[in-house]
């Protein structure tokens, strides 16, 4: 059934299926739809100097049992990459973690080489790495540039020493600035700064200063996340024991502040928590949000290939054992039916400033009781034939409402 009559939102078809990223505005629907066809790869490096109190990623800290045999892990990664059954040329590569910058350049080079060998990396591909400022020296930056990395994302989090300490981060604000200078002098043309707001102890004032300093450093890309209390972390234990939890209203204020500051500095918000200059969106992220296909390697990763999401073993020792036995280190997979994958596309797409193509879900959703209430309250709207969340801080509320739409409605 066509959704158009109810929603008034025409289901625009996008013909752009190119890999050219151009100078489109980061929030461009054309760009977003193009991202669906980009192929990317994610490589997870689970090692960290120590575990930050708020972190629930699959990481191994240097001081935790299991040790840091990074060499063995890289061997396993290379082996896993070689097992990829159906490679095709990559438009984006992302090394995340954990802390990828804890690997030596030679190991990072092996990873990129094996991806290139197995998949082929497009000449104009984005090759991005997540970095902790304290690891990032000018020499290291130059080495990475030579390996092919052209984008670096710094986990700076804050420029307030007290907040950094509360977050368990070991770098200083000065080190953060030096890291960015090093990236610049090594000719990284796409630098991202990660910030975290709402840390207990942070004030409006110190947040404002952090944002100002981040923007003065003139990054091409900015990610700004609310501190989230994830179950099982040291932070959540502290909160359960009575420590102050982040306050959602305060976090809303901080979000509004960073959004405004970024905007006036010429950065365009293209996802709930991400801003970029034209031509500098994170291709890897945008394509995954658009349900593009990607491969993923390393502990605890998930990929998305041919309508199937498979996940890897999370525990390092088990992962290594499996790969060394010559098997793919899978721990499970999920195959989505047409309705589920359409709904997923719609729900995730809501996070994008470009909005989401209504497809078969958007019409019934906007016409539903819950959808109409959201329209009336100015939370969602239609723009250029797409459903757009006008209050990005309420995106999950909208997504939950989408769950009320059943296949029978479509």
């Amino acid at each position: 059934m066509s959704p158009e009559p109810e929603s008034g939102i025409p289901d625009t078809q996008y013909s752009v299926l190119s890999t050219q990223y151009g100078d489109e505005s980061p929030d461009s629907p054309v760009l977003a739809e193009a991202a669906r066809s980009w192929r990317s790869a994610y490589v997870h490096i689970p090692f960290c100097a120590r575990r930050c109190p708020y972190c629930d990623f699959a990481v191994v800290a240097a001081d935790e049992a299991g040790g840091m045999d990074t060499r063995r892990y890289v061997d396993a990664l290379v082996a896993e990459i070689d097992m990829e059954p159906d490679p095709s040329e990559l438009h984006a590569v992302n090394l995340g973690g954990g802390t990828p910058t804890r690997l030596r350049p030679v190991d990072l080079a092996r990873i990129i080489d094996s991806l290139d060998h197995r998949f082929g990396i497009a000449d104009d591909a984005e090759i991005s790495i997540e970095a902790n400022p304290e690891d990032w020296t000018p020499a290291f930056a130059r080495d990475l540039r030579r390996i092919g990395f052209d984008r670096v994302s710094f986990g700076i989090q804050s420029f307030d020493p007290a907040v950094l300490e509360a977050l368990g981060r070991t770098h200083s604000p000065r080190e953060a600035e030096q890291a960015i200078e090093a990236a610049r002098s090594a000719d990284f043309s796409n630098v991202n700064i990660d910030l975290i707001y709402g840390t207990p102890g942070e004030t409006d004032e110190s947040w404002r200063r952090s944002v100002d300093r981040a923007i003065e450093l003139d990054p091409e890309h900015l990610s700004s996340y609310a501190l989230t209390v994830e179950g099982g972390t040291a932070l959540s234990r502290a909160v359960l024991a009575g420590a102050p939890a982040p306050d959602p209203d305060q976090q809303a204020d901080r979000y509004e502040h960073v959004d405004e500051a970024a905007r006036s500095a010429g950065l365009v918000r293209y996802e709930v928590s991400n801003w970029a200059r034209p031509g500098h969106i994170c291709r890897y992220n945008l394509s995954t949000w658009m349900m593009g296909e990607f491969s993923a390697f390393g502990t605890g990763t998930h990929d998305h290939r041919g309508g199937v999401r498979a996940r890897n073993i999370r525990r390092l020792d088990a992962y290594l054992d499996r790969v060394e036995m010559g098997a793919r280190p899978r721990s499970g997979s999920e195959c989505l039916d047409e309705f589920d994958s359409e709904r997923e596309r719609f729900m995730v797409g809501l996070r994008l400033a470009a909005g989401v193509r209504p497809g078969s879900i958007g019409g019934p959703f906007v016409a539903s009781d819950e959808g109409r209430r959201l329209v009336d309250a100015g939370v969602i709207g239609a723009r250029g034939g797409r459903v757009v969340v006008l209050k990005p801080l309420l995106t999950d509320l909208v997504a939950r409402s989408v769950l009320s739409v059943s296949p029978a409605d479509c």
């Binding site: 994610y42 996340y225 609310a226 501190l227 989230t228 959602p248 209203d249 976090q251 809303a252 979000y255 709930v272 928590s273 890897y284 992220n285 995954t288 949000w289 990607f294 993923a296 605890g300 990763t301 998930h302 990929d303 998305h304 999401r309 996940r311 999920e334 997923e344 729900m347 995730v348 996070r351 009781d369 209430r373 959201l374 309250a377 939370v379 990005p392 801080l393 309420l394 995106t395 999950d396 509320l397 997504a399 939950r400 769950l403 009320s404």
Partner: protein
């Protein structure tokens, strides 16, 4: 069929928790009615809700065979009854089917309010009573004092009181002999036309209505053509049987016997508890007196969370009424909640149980509105109208006065707490009546009080104030004019009938403030600011605002996370299911429940 002289029919009655069901366990066990393997505690409490709460809710009739010391075998039909005041209608119906009652008193507690209330009921029915002191095994037991109190109540001597422990089994043999020796056999006329009393019933999806009957005169056999006299329903007796407690089909039920009757009738309204069954071809001239319908004490609106379930709710109420004949209801419409029913209950526990049974046994999701007693409005025209819901209250302009129901209250308390009880009762607008001493240590206090003052949280406060020692019973009295007002609760500017209440003017402010405060805590933040106000007429007496929700988003979402994120959203969505839209505001079930439990 057993000769009436070899039958004894009795109910076990007592104050709540004094051990009726446990005593029934021992009787079943001692007579071999139930094997050791199948035995569990309070085996007759077979409803899930009874087991979860550890109380009896439904009276339960069961037949046992007992071979007396004399060598003769007797048929005993025992009915285990509930002790809670809300279920006293179950007791009165059970007594109607019996010649005797075993009145149980906990040796560590002594006579309590429902001991007296139930004893008086049995005396009024002309039943022979065997007084029993239970729990003599308890270290805190004082069997002598309990026996003395019991003898005082019944006008007998303490040595007539049988002392047992339903836990250890001590005294059970003596009790069984006393049941044979002291209780009279049924008196009915075996040759007279059939008269059978329907004292309980329930609905079985496959078999239709199942009636529990006590044969008063004559006898009934399978395939007999019978008539339900009140509704003039002519049917065949498809199946007769007894419960032991597992069901056993029998060919015939004779005079004095108790059993069940299935006719295949599925139209619920054709079979009524209290009706008389007779033979079509040999009809009795005189139906049994049946039962007086109990008067509901509190009313509350029950609304399906999903408006489409209204008809299912009606059907469920109809079916439940078969098993709970104290239930009364009529359709009602609420501006906030849509179509539902105004249901009358015998008390708050009854209300809770009915609601839970509807939800569990009929798979419904319900919202219940704040309970209210039944007021009466006197109009300036001289007319009087019933007010069962705050919405029924006419506008102030046409209203001359409001009357509220009063009840006669009986409180039994250790003497040391008399002062506390008096104070509490005074705060609740109670009027002192007589006071008598059951023993030097324990007093029986009588009051008249507005029903609205005791039905909600009075009992809890009484228990707290007397360290759990006082007990309470009450029965309807008359109506009196009082200074009452309706407090309306406005959500986002709209009055929500489900939350409005009629209260005494002196308590209106406290009520309004407490209600507004509770709702502010319980209603989650919405897409916009939601003011909550309490008002009397147009005058706002309290106000709070629920600030709009500003942030509801996971900060970070990356490709690998999408499955996990979707599952998280699904779980959160699931948690939101029990929300009811009231105007533009999503209100969780708990908010309606909290309104019921508001302490003022």
């Amino acid at each position: 069929m057993t000769a009436p002289s070899r039958i004894r029919n009795f109910s076990i009655i007592a104050h709540i928790d004094h051990g009726k069901s446990t005593l029934a366990d021992r009787l079943l066990e001692r007579t071999g009615a139930i094997s050791e393997r199948d035995m569990r505690e309070q085996v007759l409490d077979d409803m899930d809700l009874e087991r979860e709460r550890g109380i009896t809710i439904k009276a339960n009739a069961v037949r046992i065979d007992y071979t007396a010391v004399s060598g003769d075998t007797y048929q005993l039909n025992l009915i285990d009854t509930p002790g809670h005041v809300d279920f006293s209608y179950e007791v009165s119906r059970s007594l109607e089917a019996c010649e005797g009652a075993v009145l149980v008193v906990d040796a560590s507690q002594g006579v309590e309010a429902q001991t007296l209330a139930n004893a008086y009921m049995a005396i009024e029915e002309g039943l022979e009573i065997i007084p029993v002191v239970n729990k003599i095994d308890l270290p805190a037991a004082d069997p002598d004092r309990a026996a003395e109190e019991l003898a005082g109540v019944l006008g007998g001597t303490p040595d007539e009181v049988i002392r047992v422990s339903a836990k250890t089994g001590a005294g059970i043999d003596e009790l069984l002999e006393a049941i044979i020796d002291r209780l009279p056999p049924p008196e009915g006329d075996e040759d007279a036309p059939l008269r059978a009393l329907v004292f309980d019933s329930f609905y079985d999806t496959y078999r239709g209505v199942v009636s529990h009957v006590r044969i008063v005169d004559g006898s009934i056999a399978t395939r007999d053509a019978i008539r339900f006299m009140a509704t003039n329903l002519d049917v065949d007796a498809d199946e007769l049987g007894i419960r032991r407690p597992s069901t056993e089909v029998v060919e015939r039920l004779g005079t004095g016997e108790v059993g069940y009757l299935i006719t295949g009738v599925k139209q619920i309204d054709l079979i009524r508890v209290g009706d008389t069954v007779t033979h079509t071809r040999r009809e009795t001239g005189e139906a049994l007196p049946g039962y007086q319908e109990p008067k509901p004490m509190v009313f509350s609106g029950l609304f399906p969370t999903d408006g489409d379930d209204f008809e299912r709710l009606r059907e469920a109420l109809d079916k439940l009424r078969l098993n709970d004949s104290s239930l009364v209801f009529q359709a009602e419409t609420s501006r906030a909640l849509g179509f539902g029913f105004r249901v009358g209950f015998l008390g708050l526990l009854h209300m809770e149980i009915v609601r839970e049974r509807l939800e569990r046994e009929y798979d419904l999701e319900l919202v219940a509105t704040a309970p209210s007693v039944a007021y009466r409005a006197n109009l300036t025209t001289g007319e009087q109208v019933p007010v069962r819901s705050p919405q029924d209250l006419p506008d102030a302009a046409g209203l001359a006065s409001i009357e509220e129901p009063y009840v006669k209250v009986m409180i039994i308390t250790p003497s040391e707490f008399i002062g506390t009880v008096m104070e509490l009762v005074q705060q609740r607008r109670g009027e002192m009546g007589e006071m008598t001493y059951l023993s030097p240590e324990r007093a029986e206090l009588h009051y008249r009080m507005p029903l609205a003052e005791i039905v909600f949280d009075f009992f809890d406060q009484l228990k707290t104030g007397t360290r759990g020692y006082a007990s309470l019973d009450y029965e309807p009295d008359d109506y009196r004019v009082s200074d009452l007002v309706r407090v309306n609760i406005l959500l986002n500017g709209l009055p929500v009938d489900a939350f409005s209440t009629i209260v005494h003017r002196d308590k209106a402010y406290t009520y309004g403030k407490a209600m507004v405060g509770r709702l502010r805590e319980l209603i989650p933040r919405q897409l916009f600011d939601v003011p909550i106000q309490a008002a009397i007429g147009t005058r706002i007496i309290s106000r709070e605002t629920i600030k709009a929700r500003r942030k509801d988003v996971t900060a970070k979402c990356y490709g690998g996370d999408i499955t996990r994120k979707r599952k998280l959203l699904e779980r959160q969505k699931e948690g939101k299911r029990r929300m009811k839209m009231v105007g533009q505001v999503e209100v969780p079930q708990e908010a309606f429940v909290a309104a019921l439990k508001l302490e003022t």
